[in-house]
């Protein structure tokens, strides 16, 4: 059965309390009652003793004066009957006098063989205290039966019970109501938490639990909120990753189709057309170039994936050597495009992977050369300050708009399709650079203005 925690607490607490309360009240009542009965019994006992002594004395006198013993008994009986006391005198089981209303009482008493001890007997719905007293020789061995109706105690007990019941009932209701509200109020944060959990479980990760007070519930709520935030963050990251992956796959499909179309088309052309020697060579060249493009894409993809998935091995490297090597490798290309390469690199030590950093600088300088139009100048500078090293590659080429800058590190992004394809790019260079700088905890920043040029700065923190 589904039952709320607070309701369970409520029912159990209420039940336990009511049992204790009622048992306590009734135990107390009963104790009080039996105490008063006891004290009343001892009162009766001394009263009976007093009556017996007084009768014994009077009887002795009546006997001396030859008076009528029966009259004495009657006068005693009638006198005490007024005080709600019944008396009977017996000798040898023969009733000499009785003010008892019911003879049955005497026979009951006889049957029970009552001696001096105090007994309570219930007859016809009335309760009596019975005492018997047997006189000595000088009072002719009478037995005097004493009975006092104590039905008053019964009604007193009944009214006591009624009072206690009413009290207990009132207390119970007050308790039930107040406990209900107190527990409901106390468990409200828990209920709130449960409702929020349901909402979150349904997929709304932006919901928060309200934190009230300083108790365990508020701490739980805080922890819960933290957990939800964490989950939300991770989901966002995962979604972003998935989206980027999807975009990468979409772009990849597109990037692969173009060279594949060319390769397929030229091969088909060679197969089907009666080609001249010149056409044959041209077609073969297209096939080779497009195949190279595919190879280039696959290599760069592998590289980005490799860096993403592997820890890099770092060693101490000279910044100047790295940059000089990169410039040397691109010298020929720069000359062909009539681009002036200026290398102002100063020397400093840097921690990193030599192959990856080499690739990073080569890519950046290569991009700068590609961006140049007429009278191109590519300038390489370094700023070395304590533990920080900044490497700046600046060109005076065609530049980029702000919108283009946002996308340049995305795989397969090209700011100008035709031109960079002519330059032989796969659209992966800067994506690779981003991976390399990320893996070195370096920061790569671009600033650019259309038709004025682009400046790329890579900030390293050695150590």
């Amino acid at each position: 059965m589904k039952m709320r925690f607070w309701l369970k607490t409520y029912i159990l607490t209420l039940l336990l309390f009511l049992i204790c309360l009622n048992v306590g009240i009734f135990a107390l009542a009963y104790y009080t009652y039996s105490k008063s009965v006891d004290s009343y019994e001892s009162t009766c006992s001394s009263e009976q003793f007093y009556i017996a002594k007084s009768f014994e004395r009077d009887y002795a006198e009546v006997k001396i004066n030859n008076g009528n013993a029966s009259l004495l008994m009657i006068s005693y009986g009638e006198y005490y009957a007024k005080q709600n006391i019944n008396l009977a005198f017996l000798r040898d089981n023969e009733v000499l006098y009785s003010s008892f209303l019911d003879d049955q009482i005497i026979s009951t008493v006889e049957q029970k063989n009552i001696s001096k001890s105090i007994k309570q007997i219930r007859v016809n719905g009335s309760r009596y205290i019975y005492l018997s007293y047997t006189f000595g020789e000088n009072a002719d061995s009478f037995t005097m039966l004493y009975a006092k109706n104590i039905s008053g105690f019964d009604s007193e007990w009944r009214s006591l019970i009624i009072i206690f019941t009413v009290t207990s009932f009132t207390i119970s209701i007050v308790l039930a109501v107040s406990l209900y509200f107190v527990l409901k109020k106390l468990s409200a944060p828990l209920e709130q938490l449960r409702k929020t959990t349901d909402i979150i479980a349904a997929g709304d990760y932006n919901t928060k639990v309200e934190v009230v007070g300083q108790d365990e519930f508020s701490e739980l709520a805080k922890s819960f909120n933290k957990m939800v935030e964490q989950i939300n963050r991770q989901i966002t990251t995962l979604e972003l990753n998935a989206m980027q992956k999807q975009q990468l796959v979409d772009n990849l499909a597109h990037e692969l189709r173009t060279p594949l179309t060319s390769i397929h088309g030229y091969a088909e052309y060679l197969q089907k057309a009666a080609v001249s020697e010149e056409e044959r060579i041209d077609s073969a060249e297209y096939i080779i170039n497009e195949a190279k493009r595919l190879q280039n894409i696959s290599e760069k993809l592998l590289n980005t994936d490799f860096i993403r998935n592997n820890e890099i091995t770092t060693e101490e490297l000279s910044v100047r050597t790295l940059l000089n090597d990169a410039v040397k490798g691109l010298h020929f290309k720069a000359e062909q495009k009539l681009v002036k390469l200026i290398n102002n690199a100063e020397d400093a030590t840097i921690l990193g992977d030599s192959v990856l950093l080499q690739a990073l600088f080569s890519n950046l300088i290569d991009n700068a050369i590609k961006a140049c139009v007429d009278n191109g100048i590519v300038e390489i500078n370094t700023i070395i300050e304590d533990e920080k090293i900044a490497i700046i590659v600046a060109d005076n080429g065609k530049g980029m708009t702000e919108e283009e800058l946002k996308h340049i590190t995305e795989p397969f992004y090209r700011n100008d399709n035709s031109r960079s394809r002519v330059e032989g790019g796969a659209g992966l260079g800067l994506a690779l650079c981003k991976q390399i700088t990320d893996s070195h905890n370096a920061i790569m920043k671009f600033s650019s203005e259309p038709r004025k040029g682009t400046v790329v700065t890579v900030y390293f923190t050695t150590s």
Binding site: L260, T261, H264, G265, K272
Partner: protein
């Protein structure tokens, strides 16, 4: 003979379309971005534009809005339905997805040209003249009677002239079914065409491929 504008930014693919359309007898102009495509279409009249969607400067979708009444075939790597629908709703006459086969490109170009322009319904070479509408063939002004299949075969060879067609492809194009095994029928019909029209030197047997009408 039609005049075709090829607007495609990838030089390899642009050239590929160019050489193939030239091969089957079309006159082609090549442009590499959207601006140049519009410029060319304004200056000259074209029977057809083969238009890439992902063009630099202005996309193919923008280009098609700015040219009047010239038939357009979109060529793109984007194969998704939305692009296809968008292209066709903008008035494109057909749509071809990379990577495509040469024969498919040629067939689509031919189909669009037949449907949209008043390209002549006849074709002549040497002393032979073919009327596609009346399905008549004349050699030195004397009608040569061909069976319907022979005529269809000749038409297919003319449309794909200078391109080798495999026997299987010919069966598919002429007899209109996919046929893997027995291709003797093709050989027999080719032989009959050669004999009836004296095309022994024009219809060449290509090693490992099939037949090619060389003009």
């Amino acid at each position: 003979m039609a005049k075709v504008l090829i607007a495609e930014d990838d030089p390899a693919i642009n050239n590929l379309i160019f050489i193939n359309l030239k091969l089957v007898g079309h006159e082609c102009i090549q442009v590499f971005d959207g601006d140049l495509a519009i410029e060319a279409a304004v200056i000259e009249h074209f029977d057809l534009i083969v238009l890439d969607i992902m063009l630099p400067k202005q996309s193919g979708f923008e280009v098609i809005k700015q040219i009047n009444n010239t038939p357009v075939i979109f060529v793109t790597a984007k194969g998704n339905l939305n692009d296809k629908l968008k292209g066709l709703s903008l008035g494109a006459d057909d749509y071809i997805v990379k990577p495509f086969e040469i024969l498919e490109l040629v067939a689509r170009v031919e189909a669009v040209l037949r449907r949209t322009s008043n390209v002549s319904d006849s074709f002549s070479f040497d002393d032979i003249s073919v009327d596609f509408k009346s399905k008549q063939v004349f050699k030195s002004f004397i009608e040569v009677i061909l069976t319907p299949k022979e005529f269809a075969l000749l038409e297919t060879l003319i449309i794909n002239r200078n391109l080798a067609l495999s026997r299987e492809k010919l069966i598919f194009l002429v007899w209109d079914y996919n046929y893997e095994g027995e291709t003797r029928t093709v050989d027999v019909h080719i032989q009959k065409l050669r004999n009836k029209l004296g095309l022994e030197n024009r219809i060449k047997t290509v090693y490992k491929m099939g037949y090619r009408l060389e003009l």
